[in-house]
């Protein structure tokens, strides 16, 4: 089934934020917003949830730390203990620095890796640009028709009243998820 969408292009952050607020008030379905930079506070306006990537960070960091601590104790105290200046086999305090470094390494790489995965960012991917200047100086707001009560003229008017420099209609084929 094809979906009818309205695309409003803004040249200013505040106009777009105003349009989003109005659209949300009127319970219009906002498909996505495209911006050239991370607009401060837009997550709250859009009602987006906090990203759960911090959980990945904590889990990977913890895993790295545990693995490295185990590895250090295993190599130094179990597999081949070597007497270094009469230090105990399991010199726990001396194992802390590397454990910390490995924890940071795991946490950082896993967070970025998970981010690339959930955001579907990968080398060579063809960007699906909604507007050629959206990575430069334009803000795009994409609204989708949800039911018969969707009044194209009124939504168009809403976008324009908040300073949309360009409004266009799109028909997109719904890709089954």
């Amino acid at each position: 089934m094809s979906q009818f969408q309205l695309l409003g292009i803004f040249d200013d952050e505040s106009g777009m934020v105003g349009a989003i607020k109005a659209a949300r008030q009127q319970r219009l379905r906002i498909v996505e917003v495209y911006t050239p930079y991370a607009v401060h506070g837009l997550d709250r306006v859009l009602g987006l949830k906090r990203s759960r990537l911090s959980l990945v960070c904590v889990a990977a960091g913890g895993l790295g730390a545990v693995l490295k601590m185990w590895f250090e104790i295993w190599t130094a105290a179990i597999d081949w203990p070597v007497d270094v200046g009469g230090k105990p086999w399991n010199s726990l305090p001396a194992f802390v620095p590397i454990t910390f470094e490995v924890m940071v390494l795991f946490a950082g790489l896993a967070t970025v890796g998970a981010f690339f995965m959930v955001s579907r960012l990968r080398p060579g991917k063809k960007p699906d640009l909604i507007h050629p200047r959206v990575t430069n100086d334009r803000f795009a707001l994409l609204i989708q028709e949800t039911d018969a009560a969707f009044d194209v003229g009124r939504v168009r008017g809403l976008l324009q009243s908040h300073g949309a420099v360009e409004v266009s209609e799109r028909l997109v084929e719904e890709v089954p998820a």
Partner: protein, 454 residues
């Protein structure tokens, strides 16, 4: 006129979003001028001198250095600590100031992070060539081997150092790359079809500016900043432990970690300013790196410089106040012995010169600040030289007292590391956006009032 009390704009010259993209991308899209080629020729020649000297010393052995059995660490380790320290300011600006919500950092963070990466590359060369047989360099990492497996000694600060610096490099590179992705997409979308567009398409990972992605991106950026902050402190702490865990008078001090971290940020901040004062002029980015950056960064230099000065005083005082005769001797010997010239160069460059920045007039003069940063760079190099060489050259046993002077091979290696650093930085200025466009766009309106009715 309530505006007067508010902070000045972060970006001067009433730039809009389009201007930012144009201004930052312009240097990348033009052919380099004569000045760039001249600078590149100099930097590249220095790099070649380094390549020749490193090849020679690896082929011949480190007998080509001025080391002896008493002074076993000297020029190479000085350079290593110097370069690692330079790197730290980049992380301070990109991560620590991000957590402190210092929005002025957006103007300089990209270049400062690039500087971090290049400085860590330069630093990495020295411990490797110091090994004498660098082809066995991988022995520092634990891997299953046919000697037992014989594992590395995890109690050694040198092993900690290898892990700290590798992690630091990988995480800094990751942080830098994540920050670059939106800007790479900006460049991709304005590039004409060709090699540039293809490369930027690959590396921008299909970024399309969707806000869902931005939302996650912000979280990732925050997490990486939160990870990089303790990381950078840990790296120079561990570097200082290379010294502090040894029983050498002048090294064996608990003050070392904070003293080294402050010194690192001090030297790195000076290097950021040295580079940016030239780059902003050469690349026409005066609006983005402006008087305000100069002012704030100068204040950071006074702060960290004063911490370093306090550390010098503290270690001198504690040595004399304590009852360790060897410790007392080492410090008197630093200030009045054969290397007194190096000690006083260090004190005057690091403690006295930055105090000039208390004066607003000096702080607001690009030339004056530039000169002061050069002094700080020199002073911080000498600090490491003083700590390493003066502590070693007078051994416990007077019969083994010795001196040290660098050979031409060592000096060429130092020049080579500067060559590598500047070559990489010059190439960076040509091929990547030196200012974080996506970040500067977000703070464009900070401090700019009455431009439009809200």
């Amino acid at each position: 006129m309530a505006d007067i009390a508010l902070s000045p704009p972060l970006v001067t010259g009433y730039k809009n979003l389009t201007d930012v993209t144009e201004d930052v991308c312009r240097p990348m899209e033009q052919r380099p001028g004569a000045a760039w080629w001249a600078a590149f020729a100099v930097a590249f020649s220095m790099l070649l001198a380094g390549v020749v000297s490193v090849t020679y010393q690896i082929a011949t052995g480190i007998g080509t250095w001025g080391l002896n059995t008493t002074v076993g660490w000297a020029f190479d380790i000085t350079n290593f600590v110097f370069w690692i320290g330079i790197g730290h300011a980049g992380t301070l600006i990109s991560a620590i100031l991000f957590l402190f919500r210092q929005r002025w950092r957006t103007g300089v963070n990209r270049a400062a992070e690039a500087m971090t990466l290049f400085a860590v590359m330069c630093a990495g060369i020295f411990p490797v060539i110091h090994m004498g047989r660098p082809w066995f360099g991988y022995w520092i990492f634990p891997y299953p081997n046919f000697r037992g497996s014989l594992w590395i000694n995890f109690r050694s600060p040198l092993a900690w150092d290898a892990f700290a610096i590798s992690t630091y490099f990988i995480i800094s590179a990751t942080f830098w790359y994540v920050g670059l992705i939106p800007d790479l997409a900006t460049v991709r979308d304005r590039a004409k079809p060709g090699l540039r567009k293809t490369l930027f398409s690959i590396f921008s990972l299909g970024w399309d500016g969707a806000y869902k992605t931005w939302n996650r991106y912000e979280m990732v950026y925050l997490l990486l900043a939160g990870l990089a902050t303790p990381l950078v402190v840990s790296v120079h702490t561990i570097v200082s432990w290379d010294f502090a865990t040894a029983v050498i008078p002048g090294w064996h001090a608990t003050i070392f970690p904070p003293y080294f971290v402050a010194g690192a940020i001090f030297s790195g901040m000076a290097m950021v300013l040295t580079l940016m004062i030239i780059a902003r002029k050469a690349m026409g980015l005066e609006a983005y790196v402006n008087q305000r950056h100069l002012d704030v960064m100068s204040k950071l230099i006074i702060t960290t410089g004063s911490i370093v000065g306090l550390a010098y005083l503290t270690e001198f005082f504690i040595a004399q106040y304590g009852s360790n005769r060897y410790e007392q001797f080492v410090f008197l010997n630093r200030a009045a012995g054969p290397f007194a010239w190096a000690y006083w160069t260090m004190v005057s460059c690091n403690v006295l010169t930055p105090q000039l920045l208390w004066f607003r007039k000096i702080r607001h003069s690009w030339t004056a600040v530039f000169l002061i940063t050069i002094f700080v760079n020199i002073g911080m190099w000498f600090e490491r030289f003083v700590i390493i060489v003066t502590s070693l050259h007078r051994d416990y046993l007077p019969a083994s007292w010795a001196s040290y002077r660098p050979t031409s091979v060592e000096i060429a290696t130092l020049i080579g590391s500067f060559g590598l650093f500047f070559t990489l930085f010059l190439v960076f200025c040509r091929v990547l956006p030196v200012i974080a466009m996506a970040e500067i766009k977000g703070v464009l309106k900070h401090g700019v009032h009455n431009r439009e009715a809200h």
